[in-house]
Symmetry: C2
Subunit: 312 residues, 2 copies
């Protein structure tokens, strides 16, 4: 039986973990915040496209070190934020044959994993999903859900193909891709404008942003394309147009960064904007619009920190 | 006796009007929001550097059209915002020999006045002051107060020199300048970064902004210098450095735009950023950082408008 350990069982981790359990894998979870609830009652997954089900993990753990046995896959689904050390978090569960899969946001988040686990299979994953935690152990999957998986530095291993197969069996589309790093930049084309603009505007949904500041959005997208190309991951020529058209067609949408902001949670500013900008600087690519948006996010975060300290 | 009509007697208008009254001019005011209070009791000016005094205007008016007689100077001190037509506001008080003086923020705010009043003397003014309305008819002058006045398109007329003299007699420094339009760009070097960044950060004072994002602040300042130069108003080479040093030396300061934002008042986004950016586009000057900050201010304003509508 295929064994999976989900680390960071928030909305994304619990949802995708539950799908693998549905498809027949033995799925355990490390979940901190909802530990008591999940230990006693498991998760309730309420998926608008796929129905409602309970997910009872094989092991429910507070810490990765408590995991008993070995796992075929570690599925890392935390946010990528500076205060959370991804390597330390997963290391206790990584054995010789463990494939490390991370379904996370951001660009250039691969190297620290490659450095820390040079002898393990590393699989980078992207989730295109609208999915929220609505209460302890309670996840609502609103729409979408497509996954893209691919090995690092590139290619598709048997284990990756097997994981894709499991996801596809469970009812969600999962595509294995030869060049997942390019896929990561591709996702950043959308994330880099809409995530910070939704926060800095004070909470506008995507459609309002696009309707009033399309040319600004395009400038940021174009800069991400230039950085991606300079880093050896050229994106399709029409990607900016496609993203714009696609966003006009979407229902008005609150970005993940805006949800984090509204819930007082840390935001993935560094993973999405900071890393892209550091790549730009390293590669000598001008990215003044991205730079502005990043600087403003850092100021907004500083103000939030000051407010937290003042509240005591 | 020299006659002055102050139009827009908020903090700035009431303060400078009261100084001219102290110096012996006959000063009337048009003030809408505090009309009843001011009509009955005049203004109380509480100046930390200059002391406390009452200012009883000669005429207190709700509308410019109610003004009786003719005035030597119209002193326009409103904010410059798209919903307020400055020409319409002052026209009823502008007679043949009336000098029109505007003490207002922003760049490229001259042309509509030149177009509307081609035969009047036009005086452009800049106030470097920290001054707030703290209650109906009650103004607190916290610090600074220097004025710069100059004729349009340039030069210093006798009437301008006379007005300067009155201000200097009253205890505030007023300098007549041959090239006030350049002075306006010079002030914009500071306003263009600090005003919007204080708002978009959610309320940071100037020092926090500078300490964490100095290079971003410098980029915006440099773009304003480039636009000013392209429009024929080259600024001194060291102006960015001087502004940076000066701001480090200032006590942490809430910008006027931040105060407007916090008080739910319209902000001078167009006068300061929009006009600078339109000049950049007209003159073919690249200003991507300024463009970003402007776009984000427009998004923030859109969100504020939506919130107002939702509150009903």
């Amino acid at each position: 039986m295929i064994k999976v350990l989900v680390i960071g069982a928030g909305a994304i981790g619990a949802f995708y973990g539950s799908l693998l359990a549905k498809a027949g894998a033995e799925v355990s979870v490390v979940c901190r915040s909802d530990y008591d609830q999940v230990k006693q009652h498991g998760f309730i997954i309420d998926s608008h496209p796929l129905g409602r089900w309970n997910f009872t993990p094989a092991q429910v753990l507070k810490n990765t070190a408590d995991f008993k046995g070995t796992t075929d896959y570690v599925l890392l689904c935390t946010k990528v934020i500076p205060t959370l050390d991804r390597v330390v978090l997963i290391r206790p569960a990584v054995a010789e044959n463990t494939a490390i899969v991370f379904i996370q946001n951001g660009v250039e988040i691969e190297q620290e994993m490659l450095d820390a686990f040079p002898n393990n299979e590393l699989v980078s994953g992207l989730a295109f999903i609208c999915c929220n935690r609505v209460g302890p152990g309670e996840i609502v999957h609103l729409a979408y859900g497509r996954l893209a998986l691919g090995n690092l530095p590139n290619g598709i291993s048997d284990k990756t193909a097997q994981l894709c197969e499991l996801f596809n069996q469970s009812g969600i589309e999962c595509k294995a891709t030869e060049d997942i790093v390019t896929g990561r930049w591709q996702k950043c084309v959308w994330n880099a404008p809409f995530n910070p603009l939704s926060v800095l505007s004070g909470g506008l949904p995507t459609l309002d942003i696009l309707q009033t500041q399309e040319s600004f959005v395009r400038s940021i997208m174009q800069e991400v394309c230039s950085i991606a190309a300079a880093s050896g991951h050229a994106l399709p020529d029409d990607i900016v147009n496609i993203n714009i058209e696609h966003t006009y067609a979407m229902p008005p949408y609150k970005t993940s960064m805006l949800l984090d902001y509204e819930n007082g949670q840390p935001m993935e500013t560094e993973a999405i904007l900071g890393n892209a900008l550091r790549a730009a600087q390293r590669l000598g690519v001008a990215a003044p619009h991205l730079e502005s948006v990043y600087a403003l996010m850092k100021l907004r975060e500083l103000k939030l920190t000051i407010e937290k300290i003042e509240r005591g």
